[in-house]
Amino acid sequence: MWLLLGMVFANPIPLYPFPYSCIDPRFPTIHKGWIVGCNPQGEISELYHVESMRRQRLQVESEFVGFDPIEGKIMHGRAGVWDLKSQEQQRFPRITEKLSAPAMGKNGVWAYTTETSISIIEGRKKIQIEAYPRGWYPPAWWGNSIVWVEDDGSGGEDLWMLTDRQQAQVLRGGDIAQRHPVGSGDRLAWIEGERVGIWTFGEPEAQFFPASVVDRLALSAERLCWSQRGVDIDIHCADGFSLERPGNQIWPAIWEGFLLFREGEQLMLYRFEEE
């Protein structure tokens, strides 16, 4: 019904299944069509599919979860992973350390950061490398490499990369802080001061375009979007799309043709017009 209305009016519609705000501000978010939302205590507890309108209740409630967009799994840390297809909680792989940000998965391999390390876990096999990742920013997969935000020791942030040969190296550094890396396939995007960087794996250099971004980027195979500062905050995308409405539109997340964001306390959903 809502989908029909959305298409008729081509306007964002409010989403009511998740009236509660989450402890972690990056949730609710959308992952493989499932909106991941919270209970009245602000813990992630339930999923809602935007197309089928089905619900899944998670067995484990937590402040944040990580995603494996390819295998369709949700990482809970110590409690293992939740399989979206089978709707079962699997004990392995699991992460026993205190995570400083959500883990990010790719084909069943999970990358995660703690206060003093960056690690990769696959089943029961684990590789750990000493690092000082900035808490809160999750690592990003870029091809088969992992990119994370490293504390530069003077209050700022740099981007570091762990190659598929397990070599850690600076990807982007300098005086300007690099934050919020997000990956999708071979593409990596991040915020660098008052601009956004985007880099396709294998290409010699990154491309930049100016943008005053609020807090985070949303990247999918087709789009890169963010909340842009202006007279108020609106959502802009790299392909020229902009969603300009009264009030502030923040925390965008995208999946295929759907854009999830917040407007005040209200969770909103928008469907991009098909090209």
């Binding site: 972690d24 501000p25 942030e157 108020d232």
Partner: protein, 559 residues
């Protein structure tokens, strides 16, 4: 164990030095025949506070100077070695030891009490770290009278985080011993005092309520003993420790001073001493009684506390405070034992003047924010007045029934707290984990401690855990987050530009319409909703979110 022994011994030496300063003060005010340990101790802590305050004010907070002044207190012992030490019956002394042990668990265990974190411990730590007074628009808590907290700062400097709490424990126990000894009420007097959660829970947790109660009690006893000069000093100490004492000090002044001439002299003396605090505020370009005054709105929303301020609400108050008080809500925010209610029977035998004193004390309390922790200021006076009747067997039976009836409400929450702290003290529970679970924003504040540049300054918005920070910070909270809201209302979109900090730590304001239902829609909009919304917009437009943990956000300001 050896460390604990040496630590205790060194802290005990501070108490001796304070008594030494008390003796020197006696010489100065020509009351040298006074030999009571309690008067000397409290008067000495007052002198010590003045010295520390002045050193902080003029920027001479040097360890060698502090040690010199510390040793200076010994001069008092040299000049006048006589002192009358307390004597307690064996049963009472044993019970007092039990109370001290419980208080010690609070004092030595991890600090999680909100008032300790944002106010008492935080101020002591900030002044010790910076070596100077704090205060002004961005540090409103530091603009309060700092007599007690200057001493806490001294103790923090040399004895660390546990020091101020242990000193406070000593002062609290001093109050109990003093009241029990002077009232000759023995074990039953002690039980009556500690039967209520609101008093017992304060003993080991750093605060200013019990030291204030101690100062009021001794002021009254000195006035009754016609030791007016010393009484004036202790009245100044009481008012400087906590302004809420003004009601009882006024009642004592009105009822117990024999002539208007003497009243005027004492008033002038106390006002002259007290004027140091308004004077300092004027020099800092804030209102003389800042932070209690000087805001666009009242400092405290009195309607928020208790169970209503209508005539009916006031008439039912004596019943409601015993029957409907809650520890964790604004509904009196405490708990009183029914033993205290039963003890009211003994009021029948009091003289008119004594009844007036208690009635005025109760009335002043009821006019204030109706927190039961403020009611504790009155308890020592009550116990002293009914002390002789506590020896009656039949009365003891009734009191015990009252005690038993409400023991679970009053002591129950304390035992679970002590048990949790004992687990931490003996290492069964990790202290970091305990603090993380019990202090809102602990993890985010620890992140700020270690991750932001050394010369950076965080401002705390709606976050109460200032004592967790090991670096200077601004704002933090005070009543209804007035400072943060006033800052936003005054400076609007320039708010971040005028803030001398480059990071902000933002917690949850927890200011709902339901909680402030006594405000009109317009007032709620103007005072609360709009400033909070403006702050969120500012954060989106002019700051970068760099960290969050358990809902507490850390932003870097883009200036």
């Amino acid at each position: 164990m050896l460390f604990l022994g040496l630590y205790g011994l060194s802290l005990f030496s501070l108490l001796l030095v304070c008594i030494g300063w008390g003796k020197l003060l006696l010489l100065l005010v020509r009351e040298k025949e006074l030999r009571d340990w309690d008067v000397l101790l409290l008067a000495g802590v007052g002198v010590w506070g003045c010295i520390c305050f002045l050193l902080l004010w003029i920027g001479l907070w040097q360890p060698w100077l502090l040690i010199g002044i510390f040793l200076g207190g010994l001069g008092g012992w040299w000049l006048s070695p006589q002192i009358r030490w307390p004597r307690l019956q064996e049963t009472c002394a044993l019970a007092m030891f039990g109370v001290a042990c419980m208080g010690f668990l609070d004092a030595w265990g991890p600090i999680i009490d909100t008032d300790s974190l944002y106010y008492h411990q935080a101020l002591a730590k900030q002044m010790a770290i910076r070596g100077e007074l704090i205060g002004g628009w961005f540090e409103p808590n530091g603009s309060r009278p700092m007599l007690l907290h200057s001493v806490y700062a001294f103790v923090w400097q040399f004895w660390g985080e546990k020091g101020p709490s242990v000193l406070h424990l000593c002062m609290s126990l001093g109050l109990l011993v003093s009241v029990v000894e002077r009232s000759r009420s023995g074990f039953w007097g002690l039980l009556l005092l500690v039967s209520s959660w609101s008093l017992f829970q304060e003993i080991g947790i750093i605060s200013n309520n019990l030291p204030t109660a101690f100062a009021i009690f001794l002021t009254w006893r000195l006035v009754c003993a016609e030791r007016y000069r010393m009484a004036a000093w202790l009245a100044f100490v009481a008012l400087s420790y906590k302004l809420t004492s003004v009601g009882l000090i006024f009642a004592i002044w009105l009822l117990y001073i024999p002539s208007w001439r003497l009243r005027s002299q004492l008033l002038i003396a106390v006002v002259a001493l007290f004027s140091i605090w308004p004077l300092r505020n004027i020099m800092m370009d804030v209102a003389p009684m800042f932070p209690f005054m000087g805001w666009e709105e009242p400092f405290q929303s009195l309607d928020k506390y208790g169970m209503g301020r209508s005539l009916k609400g006031f008439l039912w108050l004596p019943w409601n405070i015993f029957q409907h008080a809650e520890i964790d809500s604004h509904q009196f925010q405490g708990q009183l034992s029914w033993m205290l209610m039963v003890s009211g029977l003994a009021w029948i035998r009091l003289r008119k003047k004594e009844l007036f004193l208690l009635a005025m004390g109760c009335a002043f309390w009821a006019l204030g924010p109706q927190w039961l922790r403020h009611f504790t200021l009155l308890l020592p006076l009550m116990v002293f007045l009914i002390g002789p009747q506590l020896r009656l067997r039949w009365f003891q039976g009734l009191l015990f029934l009252g005690f038993l009836y409400s023991i679970s409400n009053n002591w129950g929450p304390l035992f679970s707290r002590w048990s949790a702290k004992w687990e931490v003290i003996r290492g069964e529970q990790n202290e970091e984990v305990f603090l993380s679970e019990n202090i809102v924003g602990y993890d985010a504040l620890q992140w700020v401690n270690t991750k932001i540049p050394k010369d950076s300054c965080p401002a705390l918005l709606f976050v109460w855990g200032g004592a967790v920070l090991d670096r200077p910070y601004l704002l933090s909270s005070v009543e209804d987050h007035i400072p943060v809201r006033a800052w936003i209302k005054t400076h609007k979109e320039r708010s971040f530009s005028v803030l001398p900090c480059d990071y902000v730590v933002v917690g949850k304001a927890a200011m709902s319409r339901k909680r402030y239902s006594f405000l009109s829609d317009e007032q709620y909009q103007h005072q609360i909703e709009r400033p909070l919304a403006e702050l969120e917009t500012l954060l989106l437009k002019k700051a970068v979110l760099v960290y969050t943990e358990k809902g507490i956000r850390v932003y870097r300001i883009q200036k």
